[in-house]
């Protein structure tokens, strides 16, 4: 298959930064909500989950990009899932080798990375069309954005729900932690608050910018 360089994205800083802010998988695209809500009850879990997802995202995107000209359209989803599942299994064993306590804390959510739509979405929408190096940078950006989002939730929930950060106590001993914050409802509260903040920032930016793209965002 001939390469069509005009259709492919040139490598710019935006290739990376987009995943952090403009197309943040959690705060903008609202993808992969299951681990976002479930494992962010502590900062450590959020970091571990973010890094594990980033690893799977980067490796599977690279392989998909590498094989993009060999995978027929009819079997692409099956191929992507097998590729993603392979890297999830690798991460699963890897985390067990690093720390069994961390593995117990993350529970079934490691295996569930297979079903994380951020990863399949990247494979389908980006890696299957783009060259290896832009794919690498883009998926790294998306992974960093996902980790950042998990961290934003995990830190707030741990500070409010346990009164600690990475296990270090922050408040005097008589602080009564808001237990609800580390329970499932807390995940929804904190996610809601972050989404509110992000949307408010975006709307404010759109309102202030005079260019027509800004107006379009505002109108929508």
């Amino acid at each position: 298959m001939a390469e069509l360089p005009t259709q492919q994205e040139p490598l710019t800083l935006d290739t990376f930064v987009r995943g952090l802010w403009e197309e943040n998988p959690v705060f903008v695209m609202l993808l992969g909500m299951c681990p976002v809500l479930a494992v962010t009850n502590s900062t450590m879990n959020a970091i571990a989950m973010g890094l594990a997802t980033t690893f799977v995202l980067v490796c599977s995107s690279l392989l998909v990009s590498l094989l993009r000209n060999w995978i027929p359209k009819q079997v692409r989803i099956a191929s992507y899932i097998v590729i993603i599942a392979t890297f999830v299994t690798i991460v699963d064993y890897g985390i067990q080798a690093i720390s069994l306590e961390l593995y117990a804390a993350l529970g079934a959510f490691i295996q569930l990375i297979v079903a994380n739509c951020v990863i399949l979405g990247r494979a389908e929408a980006y890696a299957s069309k783009e060259r290896l190096h832009t794919t690498f940078i883009n998926s790294l950006g998306m992974g960093a954005g996902f980790t950042l989002a998990l961290l934003s939730l995990g830190t707030v929930r741990e500070i409010l729900g346990s009164g600690t950060i990475l296990g270090v106590p922050l408040f005097p001993a008589d602080f009564q932690p808001w237990v609800v914050m580390i329970l499932p409802p807390g995940g929804f509260f904190v996610l809601g608050a972050w989404l509110l903040l992000f949307n408010w920032l975006r709307l404010r930016k759109a309102r202030k910018s005079p260019d027509p793209t800004g107006a379009a965002i505002h109108a929508s």
Binding site: W70, P72, V82, T86, G94, L100
Partner: protein, 233 residues
């Protein structure tokens, strides 16, 4: 995608070979990678598991530095190497080589799921000297207080577990009581807000102790020497 599909040859000719080749190739590569990682991490994971158990045993038995694993079988205690089936208990020795205590597992249904514990038993004082939650899915902030609440953990510093006169069961069953009403050394003062989990812990301890401690106490010599008395000359 639709455009792509339409460019395929018409008349039901599906390019089978490329599909088979791709799926087969990817599956084979996936299998190779998984086996490679599995083989590499297997010894590390086994070592982690061993360290985790060791850490837990040393945590529930103060002063322990070495441990030996035994299996509680129908015929009595046997070193784990003999391959008998049954509950595994851990005899822990101090720096001087003397028996410091025995760690034994227990499990009971909590609020969410079965909670698994490890308890430390000191044969000298015939009491429970430590506890650790090995596996729990109890509610964070409520049920999981059984592994963090310092007041509650004081229950397991010297919990009375004496055997009755003929050594077949505990003299006093270990029972949970409502928070703040503990009067006897064999009672467990429950955590308020984690009553179901506290009760589960007491039940796990009582069940395991009633079953295992008579056997342990009867064969203390085995644990001390580490030899099977029947095989010793």
């Amino acid at each position: 995608m639709n455009a792509e599909v339409e460019t395929q040859p018409r008349g039901g000719v599906t390019p089978t070979w490329p599909m088979l080749r791709t799926l087969g190739g990817i599956a084979m590569m996936s299998g190779l990678l998984v086996v490679l990682v599995y083989q590499t991490t297997l010894p590390i994971i086994a070592e982690n598991q061993r360290l985790l158990t060791e850490k837990a045993v040393f945590q529930v038995i103060p002063g322990a530095v070495t441990k030996r694993d035994f299996v509680v079988t129908e015929g009595g205690l046997q070193p784990v190497e003999t391959g008998g089936a049954g509950t595994v208990i851990y005899a822990a020795a101090g720096a001087d080589g003397g028996l410091r205590g025995v760690a034994f597992p227990g499990a009971a249904r909590g609020y969410q799921d079965v909670i698994q514990f490890l308890f430390g038993y000191d044969p000298d004082c015939q009491c429970i000297v430590g506890s650790k939650v090995l596996k729990s899915t109890e509610t964070p902030g409520l049920g999981d207080k059984i592994s963090t609440d310092p007041e509650f953990l004081k229950n397991f510093v010297a919990l009375d577990a004496r055997l009755n006169a003929d050594g077949t069961a505990l003299a006093n069953p270990i029972v949970p009581v409502k928070h703040g009403t503990k009067t006897q050394p064999w009672q467990i003062d429950a955590v308020s807000g984690a009553t179901i989990s506290s009760n589960a812990m007491a039940r796990a301890l009582n069940d395991a102790a009633q079953d295992l401690l008579p056997k342990v106490q009867r064969e203390l010599a085995t644990l001390l020497s580490g030899e099977d008395p029947k095989e010793a000359p």
